[in-house]
Symmetry: C2
Subunit: 235 residues, 2 copies
DNA sequence: GCTACTTTCGGAACATGTTCGGAAAGTCGG
DNA sequence: CCGACTTTCCGAACATGTTCCGAAAGTAGC
């Protein structure tokens, strides 16, 4: 429980009392990236990572909080390297563009789903990764949203984005394992007639990527709601 | 602490060959419900459940697929007991009401978050739990949506709902453990000015429940998009 | 009763994330 | 050089979900 950032490993090895560190957080992150790149993120376990570095598994816990923490750090690194797209000037379009960038950045890493819902995820992001959030907030502000409305707009979009990524990241699993489609193909026509009527169309329709489309509809609805509601927020 | 020894399998028909079963899926579900009600769902482990029933842990796997499967079965039971609200006649209001019911039903069980994203979750629901889905689909259809549009409407709402439940179900965790709010309170004003300007307001604003509000905005946007788009679906 | 067959049971084992307690390896004051 | 102190390392252990495989407990045919 000593979050005091340790001094760099090589530049100041001596000058401090106590047993010298055998590794650094940066080295751990580098090794984790190597493992992910080589064997896939599913093979990234604490013990493997420790073995890769030639240290004890327990030792890792003195440099990272836990596996979730490690994944967030990794994600921050990857997201930080994404180049910022030029965002449209129109606030509505800007929100859509920024949210799409955020979505794509997270969806690119399957293991992001493991930590997306972790306690206050957005608050754990680096400043270099926060420009997406900042862009959405700024655009909502530009549009004329009040601070509460702005936060609501972002949170709503965030929920939608997280849900989409999580649901879609788990769906392909079963399709490879078993032969079940994402949705069952037969429904009781007497109890759920409309579902039964859709029948096997559902599976095909549910396979399409509708994130951008839904996002646009959502942003439209949110901004319309913001401008039509009394900014005072009659709670 | 074992109020249910093994006898009540007496009614099992003896016309079958092989070693007789010592338990049934129904008994497993009943024991699981008992454990959840008494000690909370976090205490529900495979070994505890087996011990409660006086059987070996491995035996459970001959009656259920795994823990996720067990949780889905449990959720189906609980959702099936929810009384169906009278839904408004207006399609838009009906979608909102049904989605809200769906959200509330899932949000009522913290462990629902554990299986919400499991492979084709909606397809695993019982017919007795599917009336919420059916209601949304039927309302979208009533509104004039084409089958693809109808599925898109439901899936969008589903993503939003799942995201909200998952994010909110994990947030309180850390607030109890540590003192971090859901979002960090200080941001670099030079890199993320708008976030910095919101500052500590964010934490308070993010604590509010905005699901119904966001849902209404989303449904408005989705239905507007559906009626304005060529039904042919120009991909 | 005995042998075959069928179905179910469950102990041992595995991999995982994580915690605990003490040993190890330095510095510092003498 | 030595003992005290500080900081870090890591083997052992724990709890979990899950899988393997042989033992157990029935029925069927003789």
């Amino acid at each position: 429980m000593a979050p005091s950032p340790p001094p760099p490993l090589s530049s100041a090895p001596h000058g401090r009392t106590g047993r010298p560190r055998v590794t650094s957080r940066a080295q751990i992150l580098a090794a984790a990236r190597r493992l992910i790149d080589e064997d896939g993120w599913e093979k990234l376990t604490i013990r493997r990572l420790a073995a890769e570095m030639g240290i004890g598994a327990t030792t890792l816990y003195h440099h990272i909080q836990g596996k979730d923490d490690l994944l967030v750090l990794l994600l921050n690194h990857y997201i930080g390297e994404i180049e910022r797209p030029r965002l449209p000037s129109d606030p509505r379009d800007r929100i859509v563009a920024a949210a799409t960038a955020m979505h794509d950045a997270l969806a690119a890493w399957p293991w992001a789903a493991e930590v997306l819902t972790a306690d206050g995820f957005v608050g754990l992001l680096d400043e270099s990764s926060l420009w997406m959030v900042e862009a959405i907030v700024a655009a909502a502000d530009d549009y004329g949203c009040t601070p509460p409305q702005t936060v609501d707009v972002f949170r709503s979009i965030w929920y939608y984005t997280v849900g989409e990524i999580l649901v879609r990241s788990r769906s392909p699993h079963r399709r490879a394992d078993r032969e079940l489609p994402t949705f069952r193909e037969t429904f009781d026509a007497s109890r759920v007639p409309h579902l039964a009527a859709l029948g096997d169309q559902w599976a095909a329709l549910a396979a399409r990527d509708i994130y951008p489309q839904g996002l646009r509809a959502f942003v439209d609805g949110l901004l319309a709601q913001a401008t039509s509601t009394k900014p005072d927020g009659a709670d």
